[in-house]
Structures are given as C-alpha cells and as structure tokens.
Symmetry: C2
C-alpha cells in the first residue's frame, strides 16, 4: 500500500493512494472527486477529460514524472483522431495512474460545475439537474432465463450507475424495444432522479451513445408577459431566451379582471387556461427554434408565476383568490408531467416543476425571487420588491423574512397612461426637465442620444417618438415634481403658476406637453393629471406594502433595496425615491436584480436541491395579508402624496431638494382632482 502511487486532484485538493493501473476516473470516484461521465468509462462521451500536471510540486511534496500516467491507448487515440482533445488533456477513463500524479479537473468536466451569474453579489448556481443522461449496455434476452427488456435495462442502470429501482414512463416503454435493438443493446437513457411524488424514472431512451444536448426550460409567466429561458441541462448555459405577451390579456389586463372573467363566464377559467397553455406551446416552439434545439429534447421545465396565473396554468379556477380569505387550492410545489398540462410540444413525459406559493397573494414568482436573492441568508436588512402588475414585497435578513403583495395595477407598465406604451423602440424611457426653463429633454428606446443632441431627429426617424414606457413615466413625473411643475398633492400647475407654456388646461385639470409632432402628422405626447393620479395610486400601493412589512419588522429604515422584475431593472432609483415608490435609502444601496423570478426558476431547473431548499424556505416566511391590515389604508393615504405626506426622506434630501409648490387653489376651482382625492380618502 505504501508503494501505491499518490494521486492529488485539483481544485478539490482530494488525495489518496491507488493501485498502479487504476484509471483516473476510477481513482476520482474512490476519492469522491467530482468528475463527470455519461458513458460510464467507455471512452465514448469524453466528459471525464482531465489535465495531468508534471514536474516538481513542493507544495504537495511530490514529483510527477513523464510516465505518471499510462501511454495513450487505442480508445483514447481513436477519440483524439476522431474528435480531438485539447492540448494536455487526457480521457480520465482511459489514462491509468502509474506513478504519483497531480490531476486537474477542469470546470467542464465536473458534474456539479458552477454556473457563474453576472451580478457580483449573486450566488453561483451549482449544477445538479433533476434529469441526467446515462449510457448503459443492456443484457440481451435469453430464452433460458426469460425477463422483460425493461427489467434488464433497469438492472443495467443499477449495476453500471448505482441507480437502483428506476421506473419507466409508459410512452417510453412503448418505444423502448426497437430502440434497444437499433442500439444493439447499448442505449443512452435520460433519467429523472425522482421527487416527492415519484421515484426515479426513465423519460427518454436513445439508441447508442446520445451525442445531442438535453434541455430544460425556466419559465416566468407574468400577468402581462411570459419569458422562457432554454437551458442546456449539462452545462447550465442559457442557449436561448424568448418572450411573449400573456395571451390571457384579452380576458383582462389585470389579475382581478381575469378572476372576474372566470366568475362571470361559464367555462371562463378553462378558456384562460387553454389560451395560456396554447401560448406556452408557441413560445416553447419559438425558443427551441432560436436555441437550435428539438422540442423533444426538452425534458424538464420549471415554472414560476403569481397565484392567479399559477391556478389558471394548473387548470384550477382562481375564484377563491378574488375574495377573502384568498385561499389557494394548494400552496405546495407541484411535480407534474407536460402531458398533465397540455404542453403538447414537449415530450409527454417531460417533467414540470412549479415552485411553491408563499400565500394567496404571494406566489411562486415571489418564491423564485427568494431563491435568487436569498433574503433569508442576508446579513443586512434587505427590502426586495418585484415590480409588476402586482408587486410582491419581501423584507428580511437571516433572522426572519416577511412577505406581502400589493395590487399596483398596470400603470407602471405604461397601461392606463394617456401617452403610455410598452417598452419598445420609440418609447421615451429617460427624461430630464430643466428646473429653470421647465423644458424637457429625453431619450427613446433604441437611440443613445438625448433629444437635444445633434442628430437625434435623424437617429429616431425609423422608430419615431411614439409614447412613454413605464420607467419613462416614473422619470417624467419625478422630474416634473422636482422642477416644480407638479406639487406634493400630485396636481399639475397652470402655465401661469409654473411659468411654462408647456402646461395647458386640458379639460378641468392641466397637462404637460412633452413632445409635439402633430404638425408632421406625428403624435402629441403629454402627461395629464389623470396619468399622475394613476401613478400615485400605483406607487402608494407599493410603498404601503413595504412600509407595512417595516412596521411588522419593527424598523423605520432598511439597509438596502433590491428591485426585481424586468421593469425594476430600468427604474431609476433616484426618480423612484422622488416619487416615494420605495422607502428612503442611500441611492447606492438601491440595486436591480433584473428578472430575479426568472433567475430563481433557472436555479430550480439546474439544481434539484434548490427545489427542496425553497420548499423549506417558503414555510419559514411570515406572510402578511395587506387586505386585512388596518395600517395599510393609513400608509396608502400618506403615500399618495409625492413623495409622502408624513414620511421623511433624509437620504433623498441629501441629493434633491423638492420645491415647495402648491397648485391647490386651481384645484378647488377645477374640482375634479380634489373631488377624486376626497372620495379615495374616505
């Protein structure tokens, strides 16, 4: 034993003595080193590539001689000739340990390789997918010892991969016999490793060694848009992303109108379910096309969505979510098959995992944000806001996490805004207003120039200037407030009051002219007082939810704020704070997590342990129901003011001084605004 060669693996640092002639792959398994293999050491899959290092290693106290590994054998040479190996690489299953050696396992040869996320503060994703490929050689049938082909395949998986007791999906069993014979009793199986609802199960079989990649989908179904990310289930790479409008929009823009549609129309919920699933099928076809994947190589899919969409996706009437006590049919994670959900473009046995919901108003999308942003692991107190048609809000740190939902409505997405539009080329997304002249300048999506830069007209000729998107609305109203065009109550001043001819009487209130291309037959873009009211309602709902969680946590300020959601990625923190959308905080402590729900879906897709983890975590989250909290209404009224009638914003005050204007007299005369405000405050 003392004479057996010493093998040291990097980067793991695992080391041990093995008998001379032991293949590196075998040595790795003996020492618990993470070295991949799909073909089980037959020199076919090349996933076990390693890089031996030669020379002196004083740190390890060994010298690696040139003959530390065996010579190239025929299998390795054939692979090199046919496919080629990177310089210095060997096949771990063929190269045998002959003397002391240091062996590096490159990241792509690790089963549990890490998928690096772009944001520095985000945790990497460790690969541990629920569906894996296994190459096996199956015993041929023998009349003297009759047994089923499947039973012999199962034995092969047990013996060659230590994967006992696998089951098989019936449609796969139906196709199995010709595949076994075509592959001459050598096949590659895609195996789902099992979950709470089912034991390990063969989902697909291919004859011989399966060269192609297998894929999974991470899908974020929003009220308005659906985003699907196609991921390679072995590398973790996102090979394509695609989005579409939620086809349920035709039944109602916001969630409650969809719930109502289901209540008022017999079979309405079923119609919405069918529309969504049909849309998903189209989206999956598209994203597979973009990624150059066959849809029948998509074997796993993870879905996140809010509770109403969650129920409609599963074919459950969401009527109970439209009224107190907002009872979910089931809050737990769902382990299903594509065929259960009419996802007909996927293989019938493709797995579907739906993350658990947190509460009746805080869905699987919020759970996905939790998984991505991990407030439960944060040292400092973090406020997580997923801004969409409905805002899901979480507040917490390692000690505890609170969550609630607030019905912001679609105003933040440009809906219900007179010149509002979805984020698309030509939409105004950034705005500055000169406090002295009250003149605006802006940028539109698809052009990097400001509107007062030379060449702007030429650069935007193709797209035109078509309206204002959600983040543009927030900026322009915040800029109007900062420039003294709008007062704290949300009223736009008259031309006289503001000294700007861009303010004009528009019915019984005033509007502000942003852009006028009507002489050229183009649009006339304005911000009306109605637009400001809509944003006031939305941002008050968002702020009040956050404030309520702060009350419950017993704090008056948070350490940092993370804005999630595709829209959150485009919100300017300064403008959001001027509006009073979010609590006061140092600007550099307000960051964007991008589409954190989609990322959470991707984490659950690539790592099955993350599924178990989030199922545990959501149990620990304390849910707060805004609808029954008396203080919510009080916070809402205060938060209707810009930025807020009672809350101080000391951090904001350090960088912006908001003019103390009031256009109230005007308001009394015009009537409508004050009347509406009073009614709302009752």
């Amino acid at each position: 034993m003392g004479k057996d060669p010493l093998v040291i693996f990097t980067p793991s640092g695992r080391r041990g003595h093995v008998a001379p002639g032991t293949p590196v792959l075998t040595a790795a398994r003996q020492l618990g080193v993470d070295l991949d293999s799909v073909c089980g050491g037959r020199g076919i899959c090349s996933r076990c590539q390693i890089t031996p290092a030669y020379g002196e290693f004083p740190k390890h106290g060994i010298t690696v001689h040139d003959d530390a590994l065996s010579e190239w054998n025929a299998v390795e040479q054939r692979y090199e000739d046919k496919r080629g190996l990177k310089p210095g690489r060997r096949l771990g299953c063929q190269a045998q340990v002959m003397g002391d050696v240091v062996i590096d396992v490159p990241p792509e040869s690790q089963v549990h390789r890490q998928v690096v996320r772009k944001r520095a503060e985000a945790r990497d994703i460790v690969m541990n997918p629920a569906v894996r490929l296994y190459y096996v050689e199956v015993a041929e049938p023998d009349m003297a010892h009759p047994s089923g082909d499947f039973e012999r395949l199962r034995s092969a998986l047990a013996e060659q991969w230590d994967l006992p007791g696998v089951h098989i999906d019936l449609p796969v069993l139906s196709d199995m016999q010709p595949i076994l014979r075509k592959g001459e009793w050598k096949v590659t199986c895609a195996v789902h490793l099992g979950d709470a609802a089912a034991p390990p199960r063969i989902m697909r079989i291919w004859p011989g060694f399966h060269e192609d990649r297998i894929f999974g989908l991470a899908v974020d179904i929003g009220s308005t848009t659906i985003a699907a990310h196609l991921c390679d289930l072995q590398s973790g790479e996102v090979v394509a992303s695609s989005g579409m409008m939620n086809p349920q929009i035709r039944f109602g823009e916001d969630l409650m109108s969809r719930v109502s549609y289901g209540m008022l129309n017999k079979g309405g919920a079923g119609e919405m379910t069918a529309a969504l699933r049909e849309g998903l099928n189209a989206l999956f076809t598209e994203v597979a096309r973009e990624g150059g994947a066959e849809t029948d190589h998509i074997l796993d899919a993870v879905f996140v969505c809010n509770p109403v969409i969650h129920h409609l996706f599963l074919g459950i009437d969401p009527v109970e979510l439209g009224q107190a006590p907002f009872a979910l049919a089931s809050a737990g994670a769902m382990n299903l098959m594509a065929r259960d959900l009419d996802l007909t473009v996927l293989p019938p046995a493709a797995r579907v995992y739906v993350l658990p919901c947190i509460a009746g108003h805080v869905g699987a999308d919020a759970a996905a944000v939790t998984l991505s942003e991990a407030p439960d692991k944060s040292e400092d107190l973090v406020l997580l806001v997923d801004v969409g048609t409905n805002a899901e809000i979480q507040l917490g740190n390692r000690t505890r996490v609170l969550a609630c939902s607030s019905p912001t409505g679609p105003a933040f997405e440009g809906a219900q805004i007179s010149s509002g539009q979805r984020a698309a080329p030509g939409a105004i997304e950034r705005v500055e207003i000169d406090p002295a002249t009250k003149e605006p300048r802006f940028k539109v999506i698809g052009c990097d120039l400001w509107s007062d830069d030379p060449g702007f007209a030429a650069a935007t000729r193709a797209s035109g200037i078509t309206g204002i998107c959600g983040s543009g609305i927030i900026e322009i109203i915040a800029e109007m407030r900062a420039a003294g065009i709008v007062d704290a109550s949300g009223l736009i001043g008259s031309a006289e009051q503001t000294g700007s001819s861009r303010c004009f009487l528009d019915g019984r209130t005033h509007s502000y002219l942003v852009w006028d291309d009507s002489a050229q037959g183009g649009p006339r873009i304005t911000v009306t007082n109605r637009d400001i009211r809509a944003i006031q309602m939305a941002k008050a709902a968002l702020f009040s939810g956050a404030r309520l969680l702060m009350d419950r946590f017993g704090v008056d300020r948070v350490d940092r704020i993370v804005l999630a959601g595709a829209f959150g990625a485009h919100i300017s923190p300064k403008h959001a704070m001027i509006l009073g959308m979010i609590p006061d905080a140092p600007l550099d402590k307000v960051t964007s997590a991008g589409n954190a729900a989609g990322t959470g879906a991707r984490i659950a897709l690539l790592n099955r342990d993350a599924r178990a983890e989030i199922e545990r975590t959501v149990h620990e989250i304390h849910k707060v129901e805004t609808a029954v909290e008396p203080r919510f209404q009080e916070h809402f009224v205060n938060a209707s003011a810009i930025p807020n009638a009672v809350e101080a914003f000391p951090e904001l005050a350090k960088i912006v001084t908001l003019p103390d204007v009031s256009f109230n007299q005007q308001d009394e005369e015009a009537g409508e605004g004050a009347h509406r405000r009073r009614r709302r405050r009752r």
Copy 2:
C-alpha cells in the same frame, strides 16, 4: 388500573382494560381489534357497529351487567331513528365502556373482512383494498395563517387518520375548492394508499359524508372474450359481471395472427390497442349499468391477460413476442392511471394495476391463476391448466413451481371446426354414443333434456340445434373413440368398418353425422376427419406442455389436475382424459377452478398485499420455453395419437376400455390424412 373495566372482543379474542368512558371504537383501536370506521368516530358512517353480549361468561371469567356500556346518546339515537340499527347492535364510536364487557365485531364491521369463495378448497379473500374512503373535517382558511386548502386537507388526513404525506391528483385538485365549501369543510376522500410507483394520493373528494359505494373492476382480457367483474371495494361483493368478445378478433382469431397484423400493417398495433380500449370502455359502461353503479365511482381496476394482449393493452407493439427469444417489453407489474390507457369512462385518476407476466408466453393471466390457485402453497403436486386459445400450464408444489405456455389454437373454443360454434343456446355441449349402435344422444345449451328424451324437440324449438361448442367437440370425439368410430390415429372409419350408416365418405376421408335437420331446412351437423385433426393438434400441444413440465420436475404423474378458464369449467374430465388432453389421474382428482384468472384479478383488486405477493411469487416461478425444448416436439408427436402413442393411462383404463380399432388401410387409400400426418411429424 386494576379497577378499569375489562373489554373482551370476539371473534379476535383480544382483551384489555380501558378507562371507564372509553368509546368501544377507541378501545378496539387501542387493542388492535379490526373495527371499521369511515367517519372517524363521528356517528355518521355506522361502519363500527358492534354487538355487546350480556350475562355470565365463565370462559372469560367475567359477568357483563346491563350497564356495561353507556346509555344511548343523542348521536346514536338519531342514527337509530333515521336509519335503524339491527337489534342488539350499538355504534362502536358512541357506546362507551363503563364495566367489564364482551363485544362481538360482526364480519361486516371488520375492515379486513373475509370474502368467502364458493369452492371449498379455495382460500378466502381478506379485504385490504388499495383505495379507501376517509371522512375528514378540514380547518377553514385563515388569512392570519395563509395556507392552501389542500395542505389543510392533507393535515386533516394526517391528524384524523394517521395518513401523513398524501398527494393529490391534479384533476382532483382542480375540483377540490368548491367541494370543500359545499361540504362546509367536511369531506369524504377516496385515497389510493400508494404503490411502488407513487405515494398515497387523493383520487376523489365528495362533500360531506359520502354514502355511496365505491367500486373496482377485475378484468380478464382473453384472446377471444373479455370478462369484467364489478366489485364493491368495501364489502368485496361482486355486484355485476359482464363479458364481451375481444374486439381485436377482427384483426386475427389467434394471437399470432394479431402479432402478424401488427407487423404487416403500419399502425396495426395501434389500431388493435384502440379497438381493445374502446371495447373495454363499452364493457365498463355496461357492467356499471348492470351493477347500478356510476362509472365515476369506479376507482380501481385490475387487469390480467396473456402477454400479447398485455402489450397491446398497454400500447406496446407485441412484435417481439412473435419471434424468438420472445422478449417482453416489461414483465413487471404496472401501476398506472385510467387516463394513461384511454379508459375514458373511468375517472382519469382511477388506478389501473396490471399483474406481472411470468414470461414471454406466460402472462399476467397465468400469474392471476397462480394467485387464485396458489400452487406454490400446495402440499401435493398440482398441474394447473388454463385452457384457452393459448394454454398456460403450471406444475408445482411448495418446493417449486414450473410454468410454460402451449399454442393450442382456437379449436377448443369451437373455431376451425366444421360444425363448431361458440357456447350459446342451441350448441351441443354433452354427447354420449352407444358403443353397440354407434347412435349419439346429446344435450344442447339452454335445455336440460337429452336429445332422445320426450319433449326435447319442443324444448329446443326456440334455440334450434345449431352446432357444437368446444366442450361438446371434446365429448363427441372422445365418445367416437370410445365407441370405435375413430381409431387411435384419429381416423374415422367407414360405414363398413364401423357398421354405422352415420359414417359416410366426405371427400377423401370419412365424416360422422350427428344431427340432420336439413329436410326441415335446418343444419346438418357432422364431425369431419379435419375436425378431429384440429382437435388432435390442440390437445397434443396441451399435453406436451404438461408432460414437459413433468419431465423437468422429474415425475411421471401428478397428484391432482386443476382446469382453469371459463372453458375448463365445462370440460368433462373423463372425455379430456380419453382424448389424452391431460395426463392420467384419478378422475376425482381432476377439478375445475372456473375462471381462475378472473378470480386472481379479483384477489389483487381486493387485497393490495396480494399484489406484492404475486410480484414476489412470479420471480420464483421457473419458466420453461416450449419452443426451444427438443423433447416438446417428441411429446407432441406421441400426443397426436388418441389418447397417446406411448404414455400409459392406468387410471383411465380402470373406468374405460378403448376399442383396439384401426382404419389405416382406408387411410392409405384416401391418402390425405396420412399425408398430412407425415408432414407434421417431420
């Protein structure tokens, strides 16, 4: 503790002291007594009825006073007023133990009650179904502690029934919320208790206490006929049985012609699968109608069939079963759902259990016969023969069991026989031929008179005399042999040779006239030499299989023979032995098990432990493949003679002396018979 009353339960004999005031149901549970309850002790279901016994019990050493149980309470009185209790009965959940008492649990109050089988030698079936009903009271939703309705239902099952971690089928979840509310949070759940492929799962939910019965199906799919038995899953009672022709017959009478149809016609296997499933749906509708059951109360179904039908039922092309090495796609038991198999008249989540196959030619039907007849538990050596289009044969005792299959073809069922017909009114089923006069007399199905009894003509006027069914064919050929009309080689003698004008030249061989109604425009029923050849082939296949197993077992005789299969029930053992269909044995040791495959299916339906048992047992059975056994051919040739060219039949000889006739000269002249025989023997 010494003062606590003593409770003695009969018939179990379990006894123990319980605190005064303990309800009898609770006492039963504490003492491990099998006392049923669906409502969990709420006085609703009445399944826990017991009969207290009063007076002196010297055997038990106690005296039971009139006040040994508590007075009738309001719940019990209400039940008595509304539904009535049998005299002397009490509700076990309401009556409390106040003093020493002897309590009898009647059979219908036992969960694991025994279903008595008609045959004295057959084991009773102990009730232990896979699907059970549970009444629960579910906590209402609470906004302060949000959770899903299903999660609260699951907790209720865990707490009230000690049934933790149940899952729910998605279609059931879809309907759950309105049912919970309709039942005011009291519901009855049908729960499948789980199997190898899945954990316990809620299959149906009804509001309140569910009064109606739930059902299961035991289905025997034969090549020719399908039989379905509808069983009450609580009492075990067969409430209706119904049968139909297998709709696959139009693709081929025998199994191999169906396999060929699938090979020669693209999509042919799929056509046969669809035809079978469609037929099953019609049959289930019919049997439910007969049993007065709603099809959506059918929650479990057990199927048995031979391997080719097994594969076609599951949607697997049986092509591999048509050629060596006869590899099954899967030999194991199948746990599926009705929706997996397009059994659309059943609830989609209804369970389907398919018994395991024993080998490529010995299917789940043979496994069901094993379960019913238990050769593996027999002290004496039993030969089990399931006679159908294919014969499955088992030979064994407690030490070991051997099994094989033999392709008898459909001749035993009246097919390929010139005057053959299926068993139906008007078919000749019993025959006697006078050895002196060679005159036949017979009975037809639907009439108890012999054909020479007065009144026979009038009694059979409605049905007519239409042909000969399978058991009739066996009797008539055996009688022809015994009367010297047919010789040992299977040749019919001429009128001269036999001295009977009923023998006549019919082409190149002779035929025997059984019945001539042609003067009245009716049929002319004859037995041709071709008919005898067909039966010779079939019976030789059957005998050779049995003999082969005897060789392997190392015996020359068996202790007893059990004929299974619906047809087996009608075979006369004496005639079967004259033909040499079965090995020699004392006639009283040849019994019929009726439809043992169907009974096996029923056992597996009513007792989930029996499923685990048969899955273990089939592993132990030693399979013999007749197609590759050189001795099979030798046995076959010998068994072509009537009864056999080499085997002695000493038991048969004690009761019948077969005339030593030979009509060979005639044969040489006519040519055809000898020619065919020679060809077969090559």
